[in-house]
């Protein structure tokens, strides 16, 4: 079913919307949540929660991209769930590895509380993403948005793992330079 039809079902409060969303994007959400949490059972719970939030969000929201919206919601839920100490202790899928990689770019300080709400930083990161070549941007997003493993990225894009690692390392370096140049406190 087309996204527009599914969104229409949500607007009409038809529960078929949930079934169709799960059918179309359940696997997609599973990848996101499982990469973050490392557990299929936890990921399934995230998807259930995400569907409920989606149900409560549409209407009033009328998303341009249903895929991106359910993906964002799932990712947020999974990252919040990861924040619990035990999820970290259990390994948490790719999250710990990804956070370790990113430490070279950031000072790991929490002096900028509520920073996620900063529109300026969001815009700066969008500009940074736009500046990247398409394949590099996909590699970067698959690693840091979808938290895919290096091996998965290499398989998805049919490139070697060493190329993925090298590309990521270069982009992280560019990101650090970019944020410093933009005057963003890192």
């Amino acid at each position: 079913m087309e996204d527009a039809q599914i969104i229409k079902l949500f607007s009409e409060r038809d529960e078929l919307a949930l079934k169709e969303t799960r059918l179309k994007y359940g696997g997609y959400c599973m990848i996101i949540a499982r990469n973050i949490l490392g557990s299929e059972e936890d990921a399934e719970e995230c998807i259930n929660d995400a569907l409920i939030r989606l149900w409560n969000a549409i209407p009033p929201h009328n998303p341009k991209s249903l895929q991106a919206m359910i993906g964002k919601i799932t990712r947020n839920i999974a990252l919040n769930r990861y924040d619990s100490s035990n999820a970290k202790k259990r390994g948490g899928g790719q999250t710990e590895l990804v956070l370790n990689e990113l430490t070279e770019c950031f000072a790991s300080t929490d002096n900028t509380r509520n920073i996620a709400d900063s529109l300026d930083i969001q815009k700066a990161i969008s500009r940074f993403l736009k500046s990247l070549k398409t394949q590099n941007r996909i590699i970067f997003m698959q690693r840091y948005w979808y938290l895919c493993s290096v091996k998965e990225i290499s398989q998805n894009l049919s490139v070697s793992e060493s190329k993925v690692k090298m590309t990521l390392m270069r982009i992280r370096g560019r990101l650090k330079e970019f944020l410093e140049k933009e005057g963003i406190d890192i």
Partner: protein, 350 residues
């Protein structure tokens, strides 16, 4: 800004970049072990659903073929004769280490298929209970999750703390003030009663991350002797291209206590998710006080007692001898039925 902040900010990036990088979907091999049902999953589904379980064990016997499940059941003579079944003659023989040519023949019990969670109406925000609206609360630096269950005032103990419960509408966070109380007979690290300001009701909240060190600590923490109820035992095996699900209804509680829960020193493992447990025999358990109905207490072929009580997997090593003995006991001494699910008169293949 730290690395976590960055991950969160990146989460709000343009949809076009998210779609552009969408990873390839790869089908995964069907998992055949217990599917845990958490409180979170219950939020959207008002029905109480039994924990779905499949008990598949992959093994490779000497003939070189990989079978989905070793039909590991007892070999000794049945101590109890059942007029409806001829289990002794027909049950698979685990010593042969092969799928038996002749299948186990249990009387068939046809049961209506339960509606799936997908068909369950999802309530609107305004129709949710307070525990569903605000499913998360921090008490003394521990995270507790709301159950869709209420407590009577008689089961509520001392006041623990003033707390703020959180929930979401879409991506917007919502908060509500409440007071946390102990639940009588339950360790304060495991569960709490939450009373929201302006409400007279007490909701059960569970700490899914509580991890006991031993089985004895776990049974004490939840006062299981007083609070747990046992249901049917279930066992499944693969035969002729399909799963056979056998249910045993007359298992005595004392057998479970003696054979599975008596080893108080049995150690808990602290990395449950890194193990790939497959349940061999599962007993349905309920803890009404905490809102649990028909969740799982299982034994594995490699000697573990596993459960999803408190929403996350917990495993205690009680020894292979005990788990095998329990499985054999149930098969030999309890009345079994092959469960066949039917929908509109048609059988649903497993």
């Amino acid at each position: 800004m730290n690395e976590k902040d960055f991950l969160k900010i990146l989460g709000k990036t343009d949809s076009k970049y998210i779609e552009e990088a969408s990873p390839t979907l790869k089908p995964r091999k069907k998992r055949t072990h217990i599917v845990w049902l958490s409180a979170a999953a219950c939020i959207g589904s008002v029905i109480i659903t039994a924990v779905a379980f499949h008990t598949g064990i992959f093994y490779k016997p000497s003939d070189g073929n990989i079978y989905t499940q070793k039909p590991s059941v007892g070999t000794h003579e049945s101590n109890k004769t059942n007029s409806n079944t001829d289990k002794t003659d027909t049950k698979p023989n685990k010593d042969t280490d092969k799928i038996p040519e002749q299948s186990a023949k249990w009387p068939i019990k046809r049961v209506p298929a339960e509606s799936s969670a997908e068909k369950v109406p999802v309530p609107k925000w305004e129709d949710l209970t307070l525990a569903q609206k605000y499913p998360t609360v921090q008490i003394n630096d521990m995270e507790f999750s709301g159950q869709n269950a209420k407590l009577t005032k008689q089961t509520v103990g001392r006041e623990l703390a003033d707390v703020t419960a959180t929930g979401f509408i879409g991506e917007a966070e919502k908060k509500a003030d409440a007071t946390a109380y102990a639940v009588i007979g339950i360790d304060e690290r495991c569960a709490a009663a939450i009373k929201f300001d302006g409400s007279e009701e007490y909701y059960v909240y569970i700490n899914s991350y509580y991890l006991p060190s031993t089985l004895g600590e776990f049974t004490d923490a939840l006062s299981l002797e007083e609070n747990i109820e046992f249901g049917a035992a279930s066992y499944s095996y693969f035969e002729n291209g399909a799963y056979k699900n056998i249910e045993f209804n007359d298992l005595d509680d004392s057998v479970i206590w003696d054979m599975l829960l008596s080893d108080r020193d049995a150690k808990s493992i602290d990395n449950y998710d890194s193990h790939d447990f497959t349940a061999e025999m599962t007993v349905g358990v309920s803890i009404p006080l905490l809102g649990y109905e028909n969740i799982a207490l299982s034994v594995t072929e490699d000697g573990y007692l596993i459960t999803n009580i408190l929403n996350t997997g917990k495993a205690f090593f009680i020894g292979k001898e005990k788990t095998e003995k329990f499985t054999d006991y149930v098969i030999d001494n309890c009345t079994g039925y092959e469960i066949v699910y039917v929908s509109d008169g048609e059988e649903i293949p497993e």
